[in-house]
Point group: D2
Chain length 304, copies 4
């Protein structure tokens, strides 16, 4: 049997002192403050065992990783009806490009690019009574940790600099694919992206995607069929225009965020979360990508 | 010598009873109210003579025709510096497409597509003390008519439904090509587009582009070199993705608006304005385009 | 344990009499001759058992399915060096679009779009002594069937109507990404696509991708790491601009061809091949896609 | 009256010793051999006077300038029917991009990009008995010089390196917009582009576009209406993605070629030809563009 602790220790030591650690996102002061040296790995096995190393317990801004959690909640409400408003095809374009939106009549290519995630946010704003609080409670529940919170400074900064997201939301509105007010939807969306969690909490929250829909407290939030589809979307669309590369090099469904976090999982086996704030030119954690490549190479574990 | 009155009368009679008059823009209630039957032609010759027929004296929403007037004011302030923020190439795309903005780092392809006109509006907001009032005064002055005004209902409606323009302005902001607040710039822009003028007033305002920069009261607002360049931009970019077609069929610099107006001119010769609210699928006045084709065919007058 | 025979019988009966069977490709006379009623399924389990129903033993033109076999041979020669000439990202575009080639300096987005497959063909032309015969022998060996052959009529027809492929090959040549003559490479490519195989032979040939690189006679043609990467490419790029949809609905690596065949597989478990010549608007077998969706739903087997 | 000789002498002296003369095209050995120092200007006035300076009498490869001559011949045959196969809109893209061809069903955006010029060549191949000889005779006739010839070395080199044109022609064939064989059409096209002429001969050939369709020997090859439309196309499409810039800076209909030639004209006034082999990054003669800008500035002559 694989000695996971040994594997992640080795990877941690291999990469801890890498000279190129990428570039920390600086479009928001709070993100720019992150230390490039931070590095943590957390692995949660389906059999209940947990393995961790480094800064696994330090909270960071999960950013786009939150899109998968929002999607799971929206799918629980809408099931297949959600696909009338957002597609499931990879975009082949950077995460914030609006081009395809125009060529496809306002239907975002998938729910993990910004425009698609804003449609998902719009659904949650329509469906939840107190959208921000209810979504926060959902994340706390599936993570089994009531201390998780939004970083309000980050949310506010996102709002002040989020011109691209305003552009996307207005374009969706122009195509009649946004039911609520732009301001209301983006306020929710900026908070969602500003969730602060550590590697362990993220692993707990994503546990349900490796465990057929049942979360750590054994509650089934979504069906097995819904889990499979979310995993498929993570695999094909989870890393912007580097999605093919991640599927190719790592071979696991996963999602990255500009805060430097990456979560990946193997169904019926494990969830693994890495955190290293420096990004590669495509916007994914440079060291995190390498850690996951080494992990699947060393353990021979991938969906392929 | 050409009997202009006779020519425009003939064209008017040819087209007055056309069965296909296009589709009146209906994205704003005030525009939708326009009568499809309205049809007017006004020709102002450089020798001082004026010729008109039909509804030439009924005011309508000049919409994108205002972009040329705003451009002339911005060029008077900035001269060549304006071209650091907006290009002069035809777009080959519909007027509201944002795609090219993304592929060209936030530099709109030309000042007559919406994104480019919003950059021009941003310049005027920076340069004018009371932007809306000062620009209105400028238009009144060059038209020689102090009664010209914004239609505030139209301006308000534009704001309420202008998601595409909000998208464009936010995208420009994301690329650091908008110095003022999105709301402030768009408030100015929506008013500018909501100017209400009749064919005669537009002909007077555009007189300077046929008269080497000197307007009807003989004041030179821009230089001859600036006039030539604005005319070149009208010719290559004045009709969205139908610009080549207009150059080809009509052969005059010109500009259309979704209110159904078209202005065209021959340097050192005349300005002609047509108004018919029904639009063709490219967003240009259907009957207006035909009237101008007939005019240049009958009079053998074009820049080519 | 799953009763595979029962499952494929049920699916066969469900779909045999479907009223909408799509449209048979008709750009080549030989393909147009195919009967829309043809329908077969073949499942080869890794434990040695085989299950089949319908027209599983009737040969058909495998077309783009051959791209995976050519890729496996090229990777055996080049390993990672192949990725200097072709990328691994989904295209988001129809299979024959050349647009991306121009925007990405002649590097095809992945080896399963036509342009990428032509680069792979170029590699085989460079590497094999008698390219067409050697590749045929390779396919015969991994299929365990020396009777497999090219359909020369189909190859010739492809050549006569293959203007799109000539365009792609010339564009690659313009970007210095084709080492051999256009005619020589396309002659090889048209033969490769004109391979005629039945469901059983395809299942045997693709067995190695479900069996860690070892083919049916236990010879390892490619490494486990190479297998995983080919499977990842099939998942993300195997169905043109319907790749996300297939990953989402079926959840297996796979590849379709315009002859109506689809092959899909679950690592360490099985290979399944369907054949029904009618295509959906995206160019994938309509009934085949439905059969595979039903199969993964009924057996709960997918990589996710 | 303007002292044209003095003006072109001044411009010649201004630019003769410019340090940056651009880069000589080197994709064909024969073009690469051109001396960067070559520089000539020729002006033919409608009143019969001619003015020239520098290397005006040295023959060079006219390349894309030939597209206008071929277009004039095709329009003489087809008149408006030609516009069913090629559009008149600016492309906004480099001259050899195929992208738009795919998005617009095989209708090239205009007859001056390569794909459009290949459609024009296809028309001439269909219409002329001995296409290459007949077209050569046409050029000789309108230039009044029977010594003009194809440079066969250039034509052969174009053929050997013309992968982009082969790609375009095959794509047109795929869209059913090429009636003759790819090889036959391109053989004609490569010869057409390989015409060798000096500034004076080009000015004579283009005289008809400034003279309402009548060429130097007073024969009317095309109608006034056809002339105007060809001039409009030159203005909007004659300089690839620098067409707007040329209209803006120079303000004359014109056409450039990668051999370093540029021809421009003012209807009822003059034709001017410049030759300087070094190109700017957009593929137009660097010094030629500057010479024409200086010319229209100094003489205040432009269509605007």
């Amino acid at each position: 049997m694989t000695d996971f602790q040994n594997v992640i220790n080795t990877i941690y030591n291999n990469l801890k002192s890498a000279t190129d650690k990428g570039i920390v996102a600086d479009y928001i002061p709070e993100l720019a403050k992150q230390k490039k040296e931070s590095f943590g790995i957390y692995l949660k096995h389906i059999n209940g065992n947990n393995y961790h190393v480094g800064d696994w317990d330090k909270p960071f801004s999960i950013q786009s990783i939150s899109k998968v959690l929002a999607l799971s909640k929206a799918i629980a409400f809408e099931d297949k009806k959600i696909w009338e408003r957002v597609d499931v095809e990879p975009s082949g374009d950077p995460f914030n490009h609006l081009s395809l939106l125009e060529h496809e009549n306002g239907i975002p290519r998938n729910p993990l690019i910004n425009a698609g995630a804003i449609v998902v946010a719009d659904i949650l704003v329509s469906r939840l009574n107190n959208p921000k609080q209810d979504f926060l409670n959902y994340v706390r529940d599936i993570s089994g940790d009531q201390t998780i919170n939004y970083n309000l400074k980050v949310a506010k900064s996102e709002k002040l600099t989020g011109y691209n997201n305003y552009a996307a939301a207005n374009l969706l509105k122009a195509y009649n694919n946004l039911n609520n007010d732009v301001e209301v939807v983006l306020d929710f969306y900026f908070h969602q992206c500003a969730l602060e969690m550590n590697c362990s909490q993220i692993a707990n929250a994503f546990y349900m995607f490796s465990n057929r829909g049942k979360c750590i407290n054994n509650v089934a939030h979504i069906t097995l069929s819904q889990v499979k589809r979310i995993n498929a979307i993570m695999l094909t669309c989870g890393f912007y225009d580097e999605a093919g590369e991640f599927a190719f090099e790592v071979g696991l469904p996963g999602k990255s965020g500009v805060g430097g976090g990456i979560v990946a999982l193997l169904p019926d086996d494990f969830v693994i979360v890495t955190w290293s704030p420096g990004l590669n030119p495509k916007g994914n954690s440079l060291i995190g990508m390498q850690a996951l490549e080494q992990f699947t190479t060393k353990t021979n574990r991938s969906i392929f």
